[in-house]
Symmetry: C2
Subunit: 226 residues, 2 copies
């Protein structure tokens, strides 16, 4: 199935668990190693809150980092093989759960902070997460997203929302069948926060010092009780 | 005086009043004509409020548009010749005032909306405006900025705050001595809102349909009473 869809994203990722686990373990992704890993940790620890839900946790590196820093952290991911790997690699609570199945029933606790670190790649699945986020956050909780910087990742294509073909350029040749992703402008991200009652209180642009350009965009949403 | 400074910006603009008035009158700046003029008007009318302060109003086109739409609008600008031109071109309240001299004393009324349409070009002068904005806005007032999109206007230079040389490329050859400007990243703009108690509630990226890229960045700050 080669269509560009949320389902295709999961199919592709399920095929790349093993090289992905290796890439993270060995620090093969330069922008993560020199910029974005530290940036997401600093952002999480800059807001008040102790109980973190890592949505799209993959093999769990961020959950382990947060536990190491003394926070409480739970990871969820749609790919069972990644969750199995996460459980194998350390402590932490993990659960296999597709984004579309997230609800206040399947997520039966509330969190101070929900984080998506380069894990919002789809269309409907992402919209669903924004819809349910307010119901799984504590009052005054935070929703933190790190994603490819829209203006940098746009490339030569028009700056409008839409599905894009994936690529493993720059990754080892063990990777195959790259996942498509749904491009969103900064305005569209901003609208998602606004529409779901989250105040977009801060934007960060971690710089990749090797390129002098933003390595990512971090957005902090605040679930303020009116 | 060729240094890059807030003072030099005013010196340069004072020399270009006549071609600027002509450029605006004749719609010579394509991105304004096809994208950003309409975008700032739509943004102002999308938030609640009637009484608008246009900071850096130039020859007053936006004040006149807002009056035409039934809003109350006052324009301030540091360049006396531009304010004289604004008064000549139509109704509206206008005042010559340098940004650094803005205070709750020199601005003796409060506004529902303060807007800066491509008029935040300096360093200290911009920081001063953010500092005094909360004192000149009514409770729940809005501060709306339209500016060059940082990721587009950055060009090949490193994506970090700093003074940049100006240019009149694309303008008529009646323009001279281009004003320098102080480049700010999206993160830096976001920090200015945050630091001064303004919630950055929405970001917009009006698209230039001829280039397919953002023509500007619009930020809406909300002076929420906690």
């Amino acid at each position: 199935m080669e269509v560009l869809s949320d389902r295709k994203i999961l199919d592709s990722w399920a095929k790349n668990v093993s090289p992905w686990v290796k890439a993270i373990k060995n620090g093969q992704i330069e922008s993560r190693r020199i910029a974005t890993d530290q940036a997401i940790i600093e952002t999480i620890t800059s807001v008040s809150g102790n109980k973190v839900l890592d949505i799209g946790c993959g093999e769990g590196w961020l959950v382990r980092e947060l536990l190491f820093l003394g926070l409480s952290a739970t990871g969820i991911d749609a790919i069972e093989a990644l969750i199995n790997k996460a459980k194998e690699l350390g402590d932490g609570l993990y659960k296999v759960l597709e984004y579309e199945k997230m609800s206040s029933r399947t997520i039966d606790e509330k969190y101070d902070i929900a984080v998506c670190n380069f894990s919002l790649l789809g269309k409907e699945s992402v919209e669903h997460i924004f819809k349910i986020i307010p119901s799984i956050l504590n009052d005054n909780g935070y929703f933190i997203i790190q994603t490819l910087h829209p203006n940098v990742s746009c490339g030569e294509l028009p700056y409008i929302d839409g599905w894009r073909e994936g690529s493993w350029t720059g990754f080892s040749n063990e990777f195959s069948d790259p996942a498509p992703w749904y491009f969103r402008t900064i305005e569209s991200w901003s609208n998602l926060f606004h529409k779901h009652g989250l105040k977009l209180i801060q934007l960060k642009e971690p710089i990749n010092l090797n390129t002098g350009k933003p390595a990512s965009l971090i957005m902090i949403g605040h679930a303020v009780i009116q």
